[in-house]
């Protein structure tokens, strides 16, 4: 039983990171109806911003850790907005496939220029937050795992508030519903889309820091696998749906951890993806997604 609970804790802390990245995919999809494949590399850049900030900000302090987290979120938000401005904006209105391929291009550009600027060798991520282990009987939870779960939960609540309780959130939902109509009633689409990218990328940046806290070996290709998993999580929960992305991430992280701890660990990705296929067979729009018929 205690092994089960321990695996559950492990799974939730992994899932929380998937969920944070998944939110970025889902938000951009919700507004623009395309998958921003460069998102997982913004996540990688977030870790590297943290790595370099860690050299100037004192380690092992709560305030230093928060400063690094905010720095990475800010840096990634700017990067996300820049990518949108330079690569995607011109293609808006064109076929979705063009933007999709551009997104893959931007992803590769970030990965390989990362190898040039940061080097291809894995770096050691500094321990930015003070760390400790807490044990409850035979259960052990590390402070980093708690930080991951708490920060992820706070950011998701904040996101939900922004989207449903603020003016810009209303504008985002309006653009998502119908961009042309939104423009007609005075919404500046450029600003809203730029904001969406900034917000999603900031979450990826936070994800990058939280991921590196738990797995302190970072390299320019580190975003690829978590990015893919997060994308799957977003689809699993119903792409375009914010609570769905969070649920999908947690579910995927937990399933992966349980498979990993069993004797079938070699098949962990195969099993995780098989579950995705089964869920999509029964609920084509994902767990929380609403299936909509496209109007002609």
């Amino acid at each position: 039983m205690s092994e089960f609970l321990q695996q559950l804790i492990n799974g939730l802390s992994l899932g929380a990171i998937y969920a944070l990245i998944a939110l970025g995919y889902t938000m951009v999809y919700g507004v623009l109806r395309f998958i921003n494949f460069a998102h997982s590399d913004v996540f990688m850049v977030g870790s590297f911003i943290g790595y370099y900030l860690g050299k100037i900000i004192p380690e092992n302090t709560v305030w230093g850790g928060l400063a690094i987290l905010l720095g990475a979120m800010l840096g990634c938000a700017l990067l996300g907005m820049l990518i949108e401005r330079l690569a995607y904006r011109r293609l808006r209105g064109g076929p979705t496939l063009n933007v999709l391929i551009t997104a893959i291009g931007v992803a590769l550009l970030l990965e390989y220029s990362g190898q040039v600027f940061f080097g291809a060798t894995p770096r050691t991520f500094p321990s930015v937050f003070p760390s400790a282990n807490f044990s409850f009987g035979s259960l052990v939870i590390s402070s980093n795992q708690i930080i991951v779960i708490v920060v992820a939960a706070l950011l998701m609540v904040a996101l939900q508030l922004i989207v449903y309780r603020t003016k810009i959130g209303t504008a985002m939902r309006a653009v998502s519903l119908n961009p042309k109509a939104a423009q007609l009633v005075g919404v500046n689409n450029d600003v809203v889309i730029s904001f969406t990218f900034g917000l999603g990328s900031a979450l990826a940046g936070a994800g990058g820091i939280l991921y590196a806290l738990n797995y302190p070996s970072i390299d320019p290709l580190m975003g690829v696998m978590p990015g893919l998993k997060a994308f799957v999580a977003a689809v699993l929960g119903g792409i375009g749906n914010i609570p769905g992305a969070a649920l999908g991430g947690l579910l995927l992280g937990t399933v992966e951890t349980f498979v990993n701890g069993s004797q079938w660990s070699t098949y962990k990705d195969a099993i995780a993806f098989a579950i995705l296929i089964i869920i999509l067979l029964f609920r084509p729009a994902g767990l929380l997604g609403k299936f909509t018929v496209e109007k002609v």
């Binding site: 205690s2 695996q7 291809a120 035979s138 590390s142 980093n144 302190p216 070996s217 390299d219 660990s265």
Partner: protein, 374 residues
Amino acid sequence: MRLLLLLSLLLPLPFSASAADTGPIKIGQYGAFSGKEAAFGVAARKGVILAFDEANAAGGLLGRKLELITEDNQSKAGESATIAKKFVSRDKVVAVLGGNPSINSLEAAPIFQNAKLPMVAISSTNPRVTEMGPYIFRVCFIDPFQGAVLAKFAKDTLHAKRAAILTSVNNPYSVGIAKVFREKFTAAGGEVVIEQKHSEGDKDFRAQLTAIKSAKPDVIFHSSNYTEGALICIQARQLGFTGPLFGGDAWEAPQLIEIGGKAVEGTYYSTHASPESTAPEMRNFIKKFHGRWAGENPDSIAALGYDAAQLLFDAIRRAGTTDSAPLRDAIATTSGFSGATGKITIDKDRNATKSAVIITVKDGKFAYVETVDP
């Protein structure tokens, strides 16, 4: 470019060095100089460069200068084979040094064997490497020996009765050494209570370690690379496992301590030689290494790289030519060659018979524990 490479492969390849008898002798080295296994390739290359500088300062070999051509496989699967083809068809090297992780050598060796180009693997310990054919050699011990050393160490020195094994499934080195360890440890009266698996490049091992911890082992043996090893130590300690963890020679890298920090304190690994050895060959090598690389301390992989290059030079000298057949025979008859890592004799299976040392991490530094002879 790729088409050209393919075309050049289709052409017959004359392997006499007649065209370039007066030019420099070209020798290739491939390895991981970047990426997650970079520590091995970078260390080996520093040792090899030192050997080349020395030989060239002494006037080269057979009256010709030596030229080292290095290629980086970026720690990626498949790259070593591409490099091997380049060495054979474009660079026309006379011999090849390298291959650190066995998986790289297993990719490249069949290509060199087909081209009848001698290859001296530096630290590839999987037995299958030299089984690829008579042109493939190595200067290190093999995993059946290393696995037995680790099993004996776990049983006798660590007094472990229950061991857990964590293997990387897509790494032939890891799978091979884990198999030997299991057999030897069980034969010595120990019990392998649980075996868990991960894949190369994984970063989250908490699930496997939680399962391992519930099986209550005395020790954990991780049979893959330092990148995973360091993260495994961190996560095992976070999950409250207090027993010793240990690995094979793939744990040897400064990054083990750099990434692992306090968590790798008190862990062990087996390797080829200790820089703390008092043997004059090792002291001499370290002195020269300090001179060439600004006071940097070599690890045993750097020493093996140096030895591999010296052994090859010795064979070229004895063969009196760089033609592949006589050169191969000269390498095969190497006997009692005194290298930085000890006396090297190439046996009939083209492996080196060597002793192993156990190293531990103490106060953030590597420290020598004991030497185990074959």
